[in-house]
Symmetry: C2
Subunit: 288 residues, 2 copies
């Protein structure tokens, strides 16, 4: 008897349809939604990702402008570009692509992205507002984890959630989102001595490390729900997650597949955040 | 056989001595450190707290300016006051006292406190920067929890820490600080069904709820270290923590007392943050 495969494809399609509807309404009203992607790398994988975002955006009626500053761009240039886009009324969403040149910390630069255009939740202020229960866009990947769980009706309030990984992009924001939904939340990482002992307490287990096969059946309580955020390239050009899918699916009540789980929902949410930002930014100012 | 009482008094005294030294150096250099406390309440407990901060500041050579805007102050006034203090070169630390008038959310106003003067870590950007591993002042209470643990040589890396309470002021920032120190961190709260089952997994247990007697011996693993952040007033004018101190001290390897544990370190750190802020703000700008 094996657990359910918690696909993200249906949810991603629904999100895309909603996004396209909002984009059309914005365009009809004279303000086509516009996403700016700032690139400062010649990394191949990054270029592929940017192409896929760009194609997906255009399909939904979002104008996508890629600003390639080159792999030797200076910090001041990247920061000034982000600041100019933040001030530009025609731009509604801003993404800073990684990797960045020469050991620059993403979080230092992303402070220059206006929070109301920070559709991938990269500015530390977005994370702080999220943690403080204020409005902000979470990183799309973190939001996708919650969206997939909700789509499949997974209960969170009062349940034990364990997140493996403490990155600013996934682990920490996912922990905050789960906490806000009244789960009891544990964050594990590379320095956790007996990982399986901790992960086996989870009703909901989120793996966000980037190591294929990290989560085995021995890490999962029978009947748990497992969300696999890993997207690790395989030699044959495919993708695998952080979870040893076959054996874990036998043990779990549900498992998100890779590909086809969190991934498509992440892209769909990024573009959904962009039309939401455009709608909020073009709404007539309230008098309050 | 009972556990150690992990006093905060000695550490607080050392922090005060260091703060006084830094304050004297700043004053000698022509810039006495200055703390501004913004008050918009006629709450008695708050007035007592402000008096005690003010007295402690003056003793250490910090100028403390209390701006009482009155319990019916308008939001715009409070926000404008915080913005003016943020822009004032003679002010180095800013605290916004609670409670606030009429259901205002603290975190919405504290966005107006410049991060480099946010000595009690109240601006959501400070929390976000902390979570992203960037420099920021943590809330003094959260910083005090870590300082007491360090002072008493409590190992954190690779150990299991459980925080009871998910407030923006204590629970969440403490969780981030423990995570940064490589503990495996769990956050529990009012919606955690079997609290004792979770807290009994803790090597280090932090209680930050504000409910006397919440943590009993049955919540504590033998040999754990327990930090009591609660400061609950008693009818006779005293203070008790969240921990049932007698029985828990028997069970634990160490317990912070109330009063005399986290409390005095919190006040000392708030003032220490203020002289650190003054030192950073008055340092000649680097050329980098």
């Amino acid at each position: 008897m094996s657990g359910l495969i918690l696909s993200g494809r249906e949810l991603a399609a629904a999100l895309r349809a909603d996004t396209a509807r909002q984009a059309a309404a914005l365009t009809d009203a004279g303000t086509p939604p516009r996403l700016a992607v700032v690139v400062a790398t010649d990394d191949e994988a990054s270029a592929g990702y940017v192409r896929s975002i760009s194609t997906a955006a255009v399909k939904l009626g979002i104008v996508c402008k890629v600003l390639d500053l080159g792999a030797d761009a200076e910090l001041a240039t990247i920061r000034a570009t982000l600041a100019a886009l933040s001030a530009d009324d025609l731009v509604h969403g801003i993404i800073l692509q990684t990797p960045l040149p020469g050991g620059v910390r993403l979080e230092e630069l992303t402070g220059a992205i206006a929070v109301e255009k920070d559709v991938d939740g990269a500015n530390p202020l977005s994370l702080g507002r999220l943690a403080a229960g204020l409005s902000a866009y979470p990183p799309a990947t973190a939001a996708a984890v919650l969206a997939v769980l909700d789509h499949h009706g997974v209960e969170l309030a009062g349940r034990r959630a364990v997140v493996i990984g403490r990155s600013t992009v996934v682990g920490k924001p996912v922990a905050h989102l789960l906490l806000e939904r009244h789960a009891t939340v544990t964050v594990c990482h590379s320095r956790t001595p007996d990982l399986a002992a901790v992960t086996c307490t989870a009703d909901v287990l989120v793996a966000a490390v980037g190591r294929p096969g990290l989560v085995t059946a021995g890490h999962v309580k029978r009947g748990a729900v497992v969300v696999d955020v890993g997207t690790n390239p395989t030699p044959d050009g495919g993708l695998v997650g952080d979870v040893d899918a076959g054996p874990v699916a036998e043990q779990a009540a549900g498992l998100t597949p890779v590909p086809g789980g969190v991934g498509p929902v992440t892209t769909a949410l990024l573009l959904n955040h962009t039309v939401r930002a455009a709608t909020a930014l073009t709404r007539p100012a309230s008098t309050g």
